[in-house]
């Protein structure tokens, strides 16, 4: 899941200041799960904006819509019927969704309402943790399903740093030590021999340095 947090209100108000009709557009997938850009959050932000405009006596019309996904054309197309009525779209999707909408409607102003954060999991209600960096070279099978690139503060590939205490990371004590978890799980799976292997450094060129990454599958293309 891609996570994000709503931008500060001052930033949002500054972005929409030149516009009188704003469509707040949510995304019902990742950012809905992390309670920052789904239907509820669209309702809250739209309500705030309407009240703010009344308080400051600024004419503003605020519409609401939530698409199932803002990163897939078939869903983005649902905006077509509404856009004529608005000067700008304030998207509560992740950065990918905002850009996808902006690409489909290049002559419309599409504003980001969220700061996109990380790929993560819902650890418990109201708590989301980063657990994937999208490095492009997944080795989770070797680390018992715990990513040392993401979850080890020092990004160590070949064993613990030795600084953890009671299973907590010495850099961020609120986080579990990734290597502590890896060792525990490999032991419970009788796969401790995995630790004997020396892993080469991650090939970061897959993640960075070649411009935007792409995945292309001919079987999925039309």
């Amino acid at each position: 899941m891609i996570t994000g947090t709503r931008k500060p209100m001052e930033e949002i108000l500054a972005m929409i200041a030149p516009y009188r009709r704003v469509l707040v557009a949510g995304c019902g997938t990742c950012v809905a799960e992390c309670a920052s850009g789904g239907e509820k959050e669209v309702g809250l932000l739209a309500s705030q904006l309407r009240m703010d405009s009344r308080l400051r006596k600024i004419p503003l019309e605020v519409g609401e819509i939530t698409l199932d996904r803002q990163c897939v054309y078939e869903f983005i197309d649902q905006l077509t019927a509404f856009l004529e009525k608005y000067d700008a779209v304030l998207s509560l999707a992740c950065g990918a969704g905002v850009q996808a909408v902006a690409e489909v409607f290049p002559s419309w102003v599409i504003l980001p309402g969220l700061d996109t954060s990380f790929l993560g999991q819902t650890k418990q209600a109201g708590l989301w943790l980063e657990n994937c960096r999208g490095c492009g070279e997944c080795r989770l099978h070797m680390f018992a399903g715990v990513c040392p690139i993401t979850r080890c503060a020092k990004k160590l590939f070949n064993g613990p740093c030795g600084g953890s205490q009671a299973g907590r990371c010495e850099v961020s004590p609120e986080a579990e030590c990734a290597w502590h978890l890896i060792l525990q799980r490999l032991e419970s799976q009788n796969r401790l021999e995995c630790l004997e292997e020396i892993y080469p450094a991650c090939d970061w060129s897959r993640q960075q340095g070649r411009g935007p990454r792409r995945i292309q599958r001919e079987d999925q293309r039309t």
């Binding site: 209100m9 009188r20 309500s47 703010d52 009344r54 004419p59 503003l60």
Partner: protein, 151 residues
């Protein structure tokens, strides 16, 4: 009270609080008329921040959430959850400069009648320092056309 000082109340209450809630809410409606609006909820834990903001947006000066006494929620922690949501809703009001204390949570007393009218009467009579909502007459007439955006 002068008409312009008559406040609008929205009351979200837990239906588990009062077995005769319809009778008792009508009792208050007879006294307060259209100035009070009741929103019965199966549990106060069903109240979302959006309900509270919408109530203010639609003209309430004061929004009350009436919960079961602490530790007595039929669904264990509904009355604790709504407390957090109300705090969140207050933070959203702060962001736009509207008094957060327009949203209030009141827990029913642990002892006493299970009667929302009896519980609410003294609350409604309390002096209200925040006055009418600035949103009440805040409807803005202006040029909403795209050409008018820079006016």
């Amino acid at each position: 009270m002068e008409p312009d000082q008559q406040f609008q109340f929205s009351v979200f209450f837990c239906q588990q609080l009062d077995p005769q809630q319809d009778l008792h809410s009508r009792e208050l409606e007879r006294v307060w008329g259209s100035r009070i609006r009741f929103f019965p909820m199966q549990c106060s834990g069903r109240v979302e921040a959006l309900h509270l903001l919408k109530a203010l947006e639609e003209g309430a000066d004061r929004v009350l959430v009436l919960t079961c006494p602490e530790g007595r929620c039929r669904y264990k922690e509904g009355n604790l959850r709504v407390r957090k949501r109300l705090e969140y809703a207050r933070s959203l009001l702060e962001e736009i400069g509207l008094e957060p204390l327009r949203l209030e949570l009141r827990a029913a007393p642990a002892q006493g009648p299970r009667n929302i009218a009896r519980i609410l009467e003294p609350v409604l009579q309390e002096p209200w320092e925040h006055g009418p909502s600035p949103l009440r007459n805040g409807g803005v007439q202006g040029d909403l056309s795209p050409e008018g955006r820079n006016s």
